[in-house]
């Protein structure tokens, strides 16, 4: 019959097989049960995320500066197709969109399976028709109207608005896995600063799905909350006037034989509440270029010009004579006067070339005024004529008076907003430099190689009081400090955003004007400065630029021509700070043209244009009450 060992072999083999099944069953059901229970529950859940509409950015009058337009977009629902179908689609779409197969494959694979991926934006009607007409050839492919960011004013106010872009590694790290590849993030300016507000809350629909991914049951919904609309303090028409003036200033500087770098910046600042009315810089860029995909070459072109840089906030320049208002105020408030003088009214004939032996060894001893012929000059005249020697003598008074803090001028400047970020609600603000002995020593200690000289000399102070040397300030810092000086001492924290609206148009939050500090400034000093700033425009260094202006009596200001380094004067940077109306100041207009030449010839006419625009009842900014602005 059957040999017993053959029977035993069969019996043992069968027993071994059944034992293997039992052991494997134990492993799955007892040893790794928790893992499998988790997998089973994850399995049956599908979450469909819904992108909220990004909030709009409006100017103070309700004009849309950043909005959305519907874009005919080709999308693929990956949950609706198999891997094989996707491969067929890659070939079909490559022909349809005339794009390389590998590009389409990469696009599809960039999105997790089961999600919707954008294949192409702004497709032609022909492509849309083809896909819709032959839907059976394009399974899972949809033509959808997807909102796309649009900046109707293009380059205007671009540096305030910023731009948006797709999620980066950093965003995914910050927000976690919920970030979808199509989601848009603010990259600069208000878009970035207020990204959380503009983006709204992502919604989600949670479904129970079956094995073939068909929806079985609706489980849960997290409502999508659209982003808030952000209303700026700015006025797009003023922006236009400012931008035109900046471009004209650069042109003018070229006509005068200067060789400007093409960099110019300006802003209109409200001295009564710290709002930015307009802020422009050139070179500029069109934020629409960043919508969709910007090629590496295009991005490089923009980067090369530094066009993305908001110079008003991030650019630092030596302020030149515009800084003289600071020693002006120090002279009055601290009672420090040039030798032989005892007040603002007393004056003397100023020597154009002056030697200060008391500045000590190692320091520059001889200083030469920019003008050889100032004649008899008191404080008022010193500002009007921008007489370097007068302020040098004030600085010398500080240097020689041991009862005074050596850095009293710099301390005043810092109180007024120099040397530290102003706190504006825009990203990447520069701090500028307010140099003194302590600053110089700190630099030397930190990096002795780059800064071999840790000494602070009297000559350094001389350079500082006329806005030269190491002193560097942003146009925004100039505006903030001038506003504080003419408004009686309030140093505003500048703001570009005024309030937020929900989709119904009601105000949900407000950024109230906020002062950083109040400088203890005698109102009479402030009033006297206003008169002298008006004098600059009527009789002084800016009188030529403002000659014939119908608003000349309402305007004050100060010119500035800063030399970079101690080289030739063809690299002068032109400044002008205008104030109007000078009797009760509201607008501070700052314009700087890098290497543009003289402040009076290049910058002052530009400021005049902007101020005339602001002061003309026809063109003056109309700032509507909020209720009205909120209406759609």
């Amino acid at each position: 019959m059957i040999n017993p060992w053959r029977m035993a072999t069969l019996g043992i083999t069968f027993l071994a097989l059944f034992t293997m099944l039992g052991v494997r069953l134990w492993f799955l059901q007892v040893a790794s049960v928790e893992e499998n229970v988790l997998k089973a529950s994850n399995n049956q859940i599908q979450v469909i995320y819904q992108q909220p509409a990004r909030g709009e950015i409006l100017d103070i009058n309700g004009t849309v500066l950043a909005g959305s337009r519907p874009s005919q977009t080709l999308q693929l629902d990956r949950s609706a197709v198999t891997v094989e179908q996707e491969e067929e689609l890659v070939q079909l779409l490559s022909v349809l969109l005339t794009v390389e197969q590998s590009v389409i494959r990469n696009t599809i694979n960039s999105a997790p399976s089961g999600t919707v991926v954008t294949l192409a934006r702004d497709i032609s009607d022909e492509v849309a028709f083809e896909v819709q007409e032959y839907q059976e050839d394009y399974p899972g492919v949809e033509v959808n109207l997807v909102p796309v960011r649009i900046y109707p004013y293009e380059t205007l106010a671009a540096h305030i608005l910023g731009y948006t872009g797709k999620a980066t590694e950093a965003d995914i790290e910050r927000y976690g896995d919920v970030v979808k590849t199509d989601e848009v993030f603010g990259r600069a300016g208000v878009e970035r600063q207020y990204d959380n507000v503009l983006r709204g809350t992502q919604g989600a629909e949670v479904f129970t799905v079956s094995g073939d991914r068909t929806v079985w049951q609706f489980a849960e919904e997290v409502n999508t909350q659209p982003g808030w609309n952000v209303v700026l303090t700015t006025d797009i028409e003023v922006s236009r006037a400012l931008k035109d003036s900046l471009i004209a200033a650069v042109e003018r500087s070229r006509e005068q034989g200067e060789n400007p770098t093409g960099k110019a910046s300006g802003l209109v600042f409200d001295a009564t509440d710290g709002s930015i009315v307009a802020m422009e810089s050139i070179p500029d860029y069109d934020p629409n270029a960043f919508v969709g995909s910007l090629s590496a070459e295009e991005f490089e072109v923009i980067q090369e010009n530094n066009a993305l840089l908001n110079l008003a906030v991030r650019g630092t320049f030596a302020p030149g004579s515009t800084f003289k208002v600071v020693p002006y105020v120090v002279a009055v408030e601290e009672d420090v006067w040039p030798e032989g003088l005892n007040g603002p009214e007393s004056g003397k004939v100023l020597e154009p070339r002056i030697e200060f032996p008391s500045l000590g060894e190692g320091s520059q001893q001889v200083f030469t005024d920019w003008s050889p012929n100032h004649g008899w000059t008191n404080l008022h005249g010193a500002l009007e004529k921008s007489a370097d020697v007068y302020f040098w003598e004030v600085a010398l008074g500080v240097w020689e008076d041991n009862s005074l803090d050596e850095a009293i001028i710099q301390n005043w400047a810092r109180e007024l907003g120099y040397g530290a970020p102003t706190g504006i609600d825009l990203p990447g603000e520069a701090a500028g430099i307010m140099p003194d002995r302590e600053w110089r020593e700190r630099l030397h200690e930190q990096n002795p190689v780059a800064f071999p000289n840790g000494e602070w000399y009297g000559g350094d102070l001389m350079n500082t009081v006329i806005g030269q040397g190491d002193l560097a300030a942003t146009p925004l810092q100039m505006a903030v400090s001038y506003a504080a000086l003419v408004n009686g001492g309030t140093v505003w924290r500048p703001r570009v955003v005024d309030h937020f609206l929900d989709t119904d148009g009601s105000v949900v939050d407000r950024r109230e004007p906020a002062a950083v500090r109040h400088v203890d400034l005698d109102p009479e000093t402030s009033a006297m400065l206003r008169v002298d700033l008006a004098g600059v425009v009527r009789r002084g260094t800016a009188s030529g630029a403002f000659a014939g202006s119908p608003y000349v009596n309402q305007i004050g200001g100060k010119t500035g021509t800063s030399q970079i380094g101690a080289v030739a004067d063809d690299i002068d940077t032109a400044w002008f700070v205008g104030v109007a109306p000078i009797t009760s100041p509201k607008y501070i207009v700052v314009i700087v043209v890098e290497e543009g030449g003289g402040g009076s010839a290049v910058a002052a006419p530009a400021v005049r244009e902007v101020l005339e625009y602001l002061l003309n009842p026809e063109t003056a900014p109309r700032r509507l009450p909020i209720a009205e602005a909120a209406a759609p």
Partner: protein, 388 residues
């Protein structure tokens, strides 16, 4: 015998005893039949209900099949195995004709032509081919002696296996093909083929497989094996079912989620949940207890079949019992192994559990034949005569 004497019964009594049915085998079959109906109901009802189909439809159909299967078992039990021996060539040729016919007039399902459809009833001839091959092989190998099977007989046996295997390969039905090969090899082993013969056969089948692999004839098999070895890369395609099946079984835990419960089965993450993957529903709903008991039940049946083989009156009966045991063990191991991820996916049913009439009735009939062998077993196990 001795026990009968101790109990004070005579020869007549012991002869009567030998006619007593194998209650363990019959009980195991009944248990599987009932469990089959229950599990098919449990695995299909919640989904059918949501789809608006009769939730008990599949289960009712299976209940009828189980009933017919039990009848087939009864008929098999009544067939006197000497008569079966005589009828073996008829059965075998009938099976070959059916296999050939299905290739011509069969219905294509899932890229394979394995089914006849006659007035709504489906019939799968390959399920019946397996018992036919077993009976025919047994008839061929019964006259041979341990270690004295001539090469002519071995080649005849290979030809008897080869013809139906070729027809099954044409469908194609890889699982059944392998089942026939394995049960044939085991029967040759049990019949007493010499080690030399067996190693030569093993070696040459290895060579043939290697040749077929190189010619690219096994690309479908390769895909399956690749999916089995690298499930993560194939998670959405070929490895979807086994991965989901393992999750389902694993999530059942020790005591299961309960009948009609279990998201994997109910939400159709397991395709073929009432047929090839019915064990998955058992694992998910009845847990380790249910799954282990089910495997144990099969082990008990195989044990009874081996016992039948040992007690068989003649070599023919012994070989039929071994063949049926091998067929059953192969099906259980490959099917359950597939749901557990230790075997690649092959579409063969779980005996007496998977929904489907052909498999159940053919298997039950084959089990009935071995039962008949048990009923007519030798009264003195140690000294059984051989026929021929």
């Amino acid at each position: 015998m001795t026990s009968a004497v101790i109990r004070g019964r005579g020869l007549t009594a012991s002869a009567y005893e030998s006619r007593r049915p194998d209650l363990i085998l019959t009980g195991a079959l009944l248990l599987l039949g009932v469990l089959s109906v229950l599990m098919i109901y449990s695995a299909s009802a919640p989904r059918a209900e949501l789809l608006g189909i009769d939730p008990a439809g599949d289960a009712q159909k299976q209940a009828v099949i189980v009933f017919v299967g039990l009848v087939a078992f009864g008929i098999g039990s009544l067939i006197e195995h000497r008569g079966l021996h005589t009828a073996a060539p008829v059965l075998y040729v009938g099976a070959l004709l059916a296999l050939a016919a299905v290739l011509v007039v069969g219905k294509e399902v899932n890229n394979a032509v394995s089914w006849f459809e006659i007035k709504g009833f489906q019939f799968q001839p390959s399920e019946w081919a397996k018992p036919a091959v077993i009976v025919m092989m047994a008839a061929l190998l019964a006259p041979a002696m341990e270690n004295k099977i001539g090469w002519r007989r071995v080649f005849t046996a290979l030809a008897l296996m080869g013809v139906p295997m070729a027809l099954i390969a044409a469908q194609p039905d890889l699982g059944t093909l392998l089942a026939v090969a394995v049960l044939g090899a085991i029967m040759l082993f049990a019949a007493g083929a010499s080690m030399r013969q067996l190693s030569l056969l093993l070696g040459s089948s290895g060579l043939i497989t290697w040749f077929a692999y190189n010619r690219g004839w096994l690309s479908l098999v390769e895909e399956r094996i690749d999916a089995w070895l690298n499930p993560e890369q194939n998670a959405l395609a070929l490895a979807f079912q086994p991965l989901q099946s393992q999750i389902a079984i694993g999530s059942g835990g020790f005591s299961g989620r309960g009948l009609f419960e279990g998201s994997q089965t109910n939400l159709a993450f397991i395709p073929e949940q009432t047929t090839d993957f019915i064990f998955t529903a058992v694992g998910e709903q009845l847990g380790f207890i249910g799954g282990a008991l089910l495997i144990a039940t099969y082990a008990v049946i195989v044990w009874r079949l081996l016992r039948t083989a040992a007690a068989a009156e003649d070599r023919f009966g012994m070989l039929v019992a071994i063949g049926v045991a091998a067929m059953l063990a192969f099906h259980v191991f490959v099917n359950v192994g597939m749901t557990l991820g230790i075997m690649p996916v092959t579409g063969i049913p779980l005996p007496f559990m998977s929904a489907g009439g052909s498999s159940f009735t053919a298997m039950a009939f084959a089990l009935g034949l071995t039962h008949s062998i048990w009923l007519n077993r030798s009264k003195v196990p140690a000294r059984r005569p051989t026929i021929n």
